[in-house]
Symmetry: D3
């Protein structure tokens, strides 16, 4: 078995660090660090709803994703300057939004919108899954601020959600790929799970080598294990203070 | 067990019809009909490559997806008129492109691009998976035209690819959801497979109810079965004439 | 006299085929085939009006035009992908809209919009005139559905409209140019007429050779003759069923 | 017979004034005034060609059209601010370009582009036809500057081009409609002619009342007469100095 | 001391000409000529306000700036065609708007918007400062038309505003740079002042050589002197008629 | 004299903190904190030049500016999502670029581009001046990396540049306004200076109250003093390591 570039065991997560109140204006503001990947997740509460929910009595939770131009090895064009968000960005922010809505009762949230902005300060693989894991914590902080202010009586969040990547690297299934692994992986999968062990999103892609059912099973097992550690780390972070 | 709106068995595909040479100018032109879903897939060969492949000796296979404004129950805004392709469109066309590239040796294709345009004439659920299944046939026709003309000695296609949707509808796992099922499904999954039984893409989404591992397993089994029927229908269509 | 590429007489239309209910969701859905040119025309009724008609008591009839990327000999860039509709597209869809409004009493239509989408599946010259001829049939079907449902008491359509191209090809005036003729024509004219023999639009362009008054007269005669045949074909199609 | 708002006879042009060298930087710069309509037409020579002419040995003549936001009775949104040129603008500038190219031998022009910018300072009907008539004079001045400098041996312009509008106003055919007439006209036609009496463009539109063949004939006669006066005024202007 | 290309003294303005009612539709329409720089400034009154002022009881004064493509030595791309206004344009129109708002009581203006369009017909340096000086006169004319019609009882304009450029050219501070000077200036400053001798905007830029405090002082003195002459010319122009 | 919200003396800067190597991929990466304002400035070296410098032998230094959506009290729309950078953003990034180019010999830099991205993580007034002060440090680090690698023999940076805001708050001139002061200031000025005491940019704006010459003089004095402290802090930061 070839050893991983970082020396981690195949089923070992990178060190996780979750810093709440990283910036001061947002109702929830979380810096999540998964190894060298660092994403700032802010949750903003606005007392408006998108037009398709007009008169529905429901609220909305949505996400936007961005990468600072030099979060990566070489500079990427700034999306604001090129005049549109690329397909990858749109795909990721739709994914984050769906993941969070899976644990929110939008009826109980009331006619307001919570927008989670996930901005990657530094990228080293797994930015979309780190975004989801961090975004959940920011969302809880934002919702709790509404409860504390008495705007909401109870939290409309009815579950917990975290995400991790898994993949086949050098012929073996591994958990939480960093950039060095990701760029050579034969196949790559992002898994979003809740705290009941349920799968919220399963997105596996094999541009090169198609994965066999037993590989898929192994990857799902690794992911389930990784997510349960991440869910625990979220709780720890939320219990601090 | 509640019976499906169409009266189909849970593991039953809709009637498939694959019409080759549906239009005359494209190197490959396929109308695929999956029940009431109808997608026109054309494959166009161009002797240029995208700039990121300059001097690589490789070719490219890519896809674009569109929906005629009134392919659906109510009219959708024309994307050309709104000035951009939406996130859903970008996501789908990226998916189709990846699926096709998984069975093409781009080195053997040489420095040319094959673009598959998948335009939905009528939508009734499963347009992205129908697009992939039809696009493969159009791609083969386009590549064979290159072989016939002597531009290529051998086909650079080294496998076969098809796709189908599966989901949990009314509490039961079902194959190939139509619109009536899709709009009520608790969970929904698109699976792309090759003719070796390998998974090329697995995309499952549960905005409502998260799926348990045993549900996931049942869906993967249904999909594997559906894809193998679709792969057989592609071969039949390609053998006609 | 050089004979036409298709062998047609100078005043002979291409074979016309009008298929109603080509797709199932639109209130009117017509595939029109003029020789090898095939355009799908759908008419969609929406209970809204554009803002410039707010409080006017009037409805609106408008058109959008598109060409599938590989409707033509070589692939055209998809307008949705390039982020805007080109000048030619805008010009054509404005023309189709004006032509249809010439036979509709928008006051009698009431505060609703009918949008005709003309999407070219295969192009072989004359796509804009085929669009108009087909669009009229789709419009009638959509309006009749409103009458049948009792939404409208009477049809607000007070005339019939059809269109054809004429041009000077190889020195002689010819009717209904196909692509082979069009690309070599010295001069080219699109004529829209109603069933009273009136001219609704006359658009003649001579980038190369300017046309003399007697040529113009001959072209107008050819067009009048062609349009009256097309108007008859529309009636036949509408009387089927 | 109702008399025209301006008191003009049905076949009477508005007073025309053509001022050459209106601005100083352009190779040709003409202010054309047709009654209260004022358009600044500048012709700019650039030693480049559009990519579709690469290696053709041909040059290009093209036009752009704009309207200052307050050229009209009420302010129009600035197209630069709204981020795109509207359909009407694109249609007009394509028309101007075609009209001018009809009298230029682009081979003899050589690999350079002449761009005519037609900017409406004040609008009172007929801005597109005034643009063409003025643009021709600017084009001649620009070409002559190339001849004077010795860049070209002979002028590649082989004819003269002018344009005028005609229409049915208050039941009678009239020449050169001003805004008061245009806004009430039943039908409206723009005619571009050369100095050989040939028609270069014929664009007639009847949103309201369709025009009968004898009306069309009357309008063509009026236009032919109007254009020959305009062609004479161009020559006078070009002979000054 | 090297003498200025125009032969002017260091503290000498170019000849100024202010022509009111240059076009007929706008409530205020001024052609300002500063030497060879010519800008058309029109003021349009609209009975709407931007959404950020909804229910504030306040009106708004704003500006848009444009340059005709061939106002300059070589042709610039038309901003409407390139699909956006450049940074320079946005910067200038924001500056003009701020300058004008500095002398208007927007409460007294009432819920209406006055838009000043500054379109450069010919450029020879100093187009932004000429725009401000001319825009003020157009604004006064527009406001006076509201007073004359009885829409406003009193003018909401409580001061006068004009602008000029100054710079270090050939080592010496000079007033009102023309293009020949501007393109060689080491440093360049635009100053907007009111009739109370107060500074409304001070914008100095030194891409090349940084300016010392005493140079800055000399430039501010030159500008104060220039502005007071311009303010006098505005009054003269407003008193004509 | 009313005391400042922060309790600072009128001529007192906020606490400055400059953290180099804040992220790992960029050639220069600096987090600058001015009180609660935090801007991440990264400098990226690319071996290309903009087309207007082709064959000039010169390099280029440019800047882009962005604000994370929730850097501010209420969430701002993400510019990448709205499809364009606003006028304020363009103005700021042009300013930063000019300021940096004032101290770089682009000939000595050679044919390469250094792009400084200034992204505001948290805003509390003075983000553009903090960006300049931080960008300079990032630029030095990036250039030094080129020297260390031997790509450049000597640094092409020939001076030092820093910036600060000053304004009239509550009737008194103050240095380095925070958001609480900025939002109530009568007048506001951004000053960019070099280490020779020269002014590179002076941008003063008085939407409300115009400033008198003696106020302008007092502000320039405050700014000169503030900048010299900032220049010293830059040197300290650059000497650490």
């Amino acid at each position: 078995m070839k050893s991983r570039p970082s020396g981690r065991a195949p089923d070992e997560l990178r060190p996780i660090r979750i810093t709440r109140r990283f910036t001061r204006h947002a109702e929830g503001s979380v810096l999540i660090e998964c190894g060298e990947t660092r994403v700032l997740c802010t949750a903003s509460v606005e007392e408006t709803i998108p037009s398709f929910l007009r008169n529905s009595g429901k609220g909305w939770v949505t996400a936007e994703y961005g990468m600072l131009p030099r979060a990566t090895h070489t500079r990427n064009k700034r999306e604001a300057a090129s005049g549109k968000q690329g397909g990858r960005t749109l795909e990721i922010q739709r994914l984050i939004g769906r993941a969070l809505r899976a644990v929110v009762d939008t009826k109980a949230l009331g006619e307001r919108t919570i927008t989670i902005d996930c901005d990657v300060l530094q990228a080293d693989g797994g930015t979309r899954t780190a975004s989801i894991t961090g975004a959940y914590v920011a969302l809880v902080d934002a919702v709790n601020s509404l409860v504390r202010k008495g705007t909401l009586r109870d939290s409309p969040i009815h579950g917990q959600v975290a995400a991790v990547s898994v993949g086949i690297w050098s012929g073996q299934p591994v958990l939480d790929l960093d950039y060095a692994e990701d760029s050579e992986a034969e196949t790559d999968m992002n898994i979003v799970m809740n705290n009941g062990g349920g799968f919220i999103e399963v997105q596996g892609t094999a541009e090169g080598h198609a994965f066999r059912r037993e590989e898929l099973d192994a990857l799902l097992n690794l992911a389930a294990n990784g997510c349960s550690q991440l869910l625990a780390r979220q709780l720890e972070a939320l219990n601090e203070d």
